[in-house]
């Protein structure tokens, strides 16, 4: 079961992060959160911070999947779990990048 988890964990983390950032956007727009921090709008800062956190977590997870003590014993599971690990990282970077460029509540 641990081996199955190793394969599933990175995309699962992506799904959680993706939903969380979407939820954060809903919260910001639903409650009209505004204001500025350091010249940037507060919603933008919050969203970009969440984006950064998501990427950081994915990268940490990927590193764990490469770590000799945490990686699977089976060569096959190691291979697949690292691909899905990379997939999670790329997906987080790709699908959440609109936080940096699009307008948030229009």
């Amino acid at each position: 079961m641990k081996d199955i988890l190793r394969i599933l964990i990175a995309p699962l983390l992506w799904l959680a992060a993706f939903s969380a950032v979407y939820g954060l956007l809903g919260l910001i727009c639903g409650h009209g959160i505004g204001g500025t921090v350091l010249g940037l709008s507060l919603p933008r800062v919050l969203l970009i911070a969440a984006y950064g956190l998501a990427i950081l977590l994915q990268a940490a997870l990927l590193a764990a999947l490469y770590h000799p003590r945490l990686a699977a014993r089976s060569g096959f599971v190691r291979f697949v779990s690292r691909i899905t690990g990379w997939a999670g990282l790329v997906a987080a970077g790709y699908t959440l990048f609109p936080v940096a460029v699009t307008s948030s509540c229009l």
Binding site: Y94, P98, V101, T102, S103, L106
Partner: protein, 185 residues
């Protein structure tokens, strides 16, 4: 987009056909994986899709209903099976089935519904936007020249859905002024 799609489809078909004529596999399994999975499976779509996404987002941003001084505001309320339009510039004026707008100026349509979900769609002026109970959605439309444009409700709404259409009448400056003043009288 259609042409690009056709090109990719053609590529896949050619590769499929060639598999019947080509005999010697190109190199070992590792090399084949590099070509098929990494090259064609990962890199190629990522490049195409990334470009397409960026293009879509730029267009999408441009279509948003941003604050502008010149904007005309109207409201559209759907009910089964008619649209009622009201006008900020002409308070008290209400039209049914025909939306009047000035040509050459951006118009924000505030869309909502009195009963079920409908969708406001004037194919030649903009994309569609839903009318959802309890919510008001704003769609930016703009008619380049005066004329009559066909509008449709594009969300299934029961028995009368098939005939649920409306018209948008775009006026020139004089016509619009006449329409607005008509109310004051």
């Amino acid at each position: 987009m259609l042409a690009g799609g056709a090109l990719i489809f053609a590529l896949v078909m050619v590769l499929l056909l060639l598999s019947f004529t080509r005999r010697a596999p190109a190199g070992g399994e590792a090399r084949q994986l590099r070509v098929w999975v990494i090259g064609l499976g990962l890199v190629f779509p990522l490049a195409v899709l990334g470009a397409l996404l960026a293009y879509g987002l730029v267009i999408g941003e441009r279509l948003l209903a941003r604050e502008e001084p010149e904007v005309i505001r109207v409201s559209a309320e759907a009910r089964r099976w008619t649209w009622r339009f009201t006008y900020e510039d002409a308070p008290g004026r209400r039209t049914e089935g025909v939306l009047h707008i000035p040509a050459g100026r951006p118009v924000d349509v505030a869309i909502t519904t009195a009963d079920v979900i409908h969708s406001f769609w004037v194919p030649r002026l903009a994309g569609k936007l839903d009318a959802i109970p309890g919510h008001v959605n704003t769609l930016r439309i703009e008619a380049d020249r005066p004329g009559t444009y066909r509008g449709l409700s594009a969300e299934f709404s029961g028995a009368g859905y098939g005939g649920f259409t409306f018209l948008v009448s775009a006026h020139d400056a004089a016509g619009w002024a006449a329409f607005v003043e008509d109310t004051e009288r």
